[in-house]
């Protein structure tokens, strides 16, 4: 009952109460945004353990930074930005340590929600995305999971829009190339990965 009341509360009021120290309000913020944050990390690593650790870190940092958040839209922007940056940093750390990047068993559990006929291709695509260079993974995740135009992706990542478009083009080219032996998608060469934006 209380959870339903909290869920129905206007975002601005919820944010204000959380900032003032209300634990239930902060927990509701976590509840409302956990899917987005966890998904960014999960698609980045295709690993539930890494994804949960990173997602928890993001919300822990949010708890410490609540006073900086000005609005609901700013909160969403902040979460996307911090989650992506943490993913990039963690990917680099893993690379330096030489750890294997994928946990296919855990990934399979989460993939179970896809229709049976598509599971193979969907799963393969997710696996390939998790194998891209960290900066490419970041733009692909924000562009296709969050459905953000390249201009917004550039704002979140703090880089020029041309860099975002360039990385998207190269990421798609890599994915096309790697999916060819599976009989996967093989469309015409991409000329504008930023279609639909500006």
């Amino acid at each position: 009952m209380e959870t339903e009341l909290l869920a129905a509360e206007p975002p601005a009021a919820l944010l204000e109460r959380a900032t003032k120290g209300n634990a239930e309000a902060f927990a509701e913020l976590v509840r409302q945004h956990q899917r987005m944050v966890f998904s960014i990390a999960w698609h980045f690593f295709h690993d539930a353990t890494h994804a949960e650790d990173l997602a928890q870190d993001v919300f822990l940092q949010l708890f410490q930074s609540l006073r900086e958040i000005r609005s609901e839209s700013h909160l969403v922007f902040w979460l996307r930005q911090v989650a992506t940056r943490k993913c990039i940093d963690h990917a680099r750390r893993l690379q330096r340590q030489g750890e294997p990047p994928l946990d296919l068993e855990a990934a399979a559990l989460i993939t179970a929600e896809a229709p049976p006929a598509d599971r193979g291709e969907v799963e393969e695509l997710r696996r390939l995305v998790a194998g891209l260079p960290a900066k490419f993974r970041a733009v692909v995740t924000l562009r296709y999971q969050e459905d953000m135009p390249p201009s917004e992706v550039a704002r979140v990542l703090g880089c020029p829009i041309n860099s975002v478009k360039s990385r998207l083009q190269r990421a798609l080219a890599l994915l096309r190339q790697r999916m060819k032996p599976l009989g996967g998608t093989d469309g015409p060469p991409d000329h504008d990965a930023g279609a639909g934006d500006e």
């Binding site: 899917r35 998904s39 989460i110 996967g184 998608t185 991409d190 990965a193």
Partner: protein
């Protein structure tokens, strides 16, 4: 949008975290800062609320506090230190003369102390030193 992009949108849909995620986050929040988690439920002081209402932004509030402290410091210092009248020319000359006499007295004392040290450091000349000391002590 190209087919691969359509497939990506489908593949990269949002997924749910494992059950209990929120509880685990809140547990880490509590574990990291027990004081902060206590303050979560403690109501803010009314004085603090009044101050925050008066000064919503920390920078001008800090600047005002600093100005008040500086003004207080200047006022206390002014009250504590009495204002001295400037010296006349006569007073200045008298002071200079007294200073010169003190310097001369210190020089004489220093010379006498040095002589005594020399005498004491040569015990074989003890009698002569005693005589000299007597002379020095009674001299003038």
């Amino acid at each position: 949008m190209e087919p691969i992009e359509e497939n990506l949108k489908q593949a990269m849909n949002r997924v749910d975290p494992p059950d209990g995620f929120v509880a685990r986050v809140m547990a880490r929040v509590d574990a990291q800062s027990p004081a902060a988690s206590k303050s979560f439920s403690r109501p803010a002081s009314p004085w603090l609320a009044w101050w925050k209402h008066l000064m919503p932004h920390p920078v001008p509030a800090a600047a005002m506090v600093l100005m008040i402290l500086v003004a207080l410091g200047v006022g206390v210092e002014h009250w504590r230190r009495p204002t001295l009248p400037p010296l006349s020319e006569h007073e200045r000359m008298v002071g200079e003369k007294a200073r010169a006499q003190m310097v001369l007295a210190l020089k004489i004392t220093g010379a006498q102390l040095s002589r005594m040290q020399q005498l004491l450091s040569h015990p074989s000349n003890g009698r002569v030193a005693d005589n000299q000391i007597n002379q020095t002590g009674s001299g003038h």
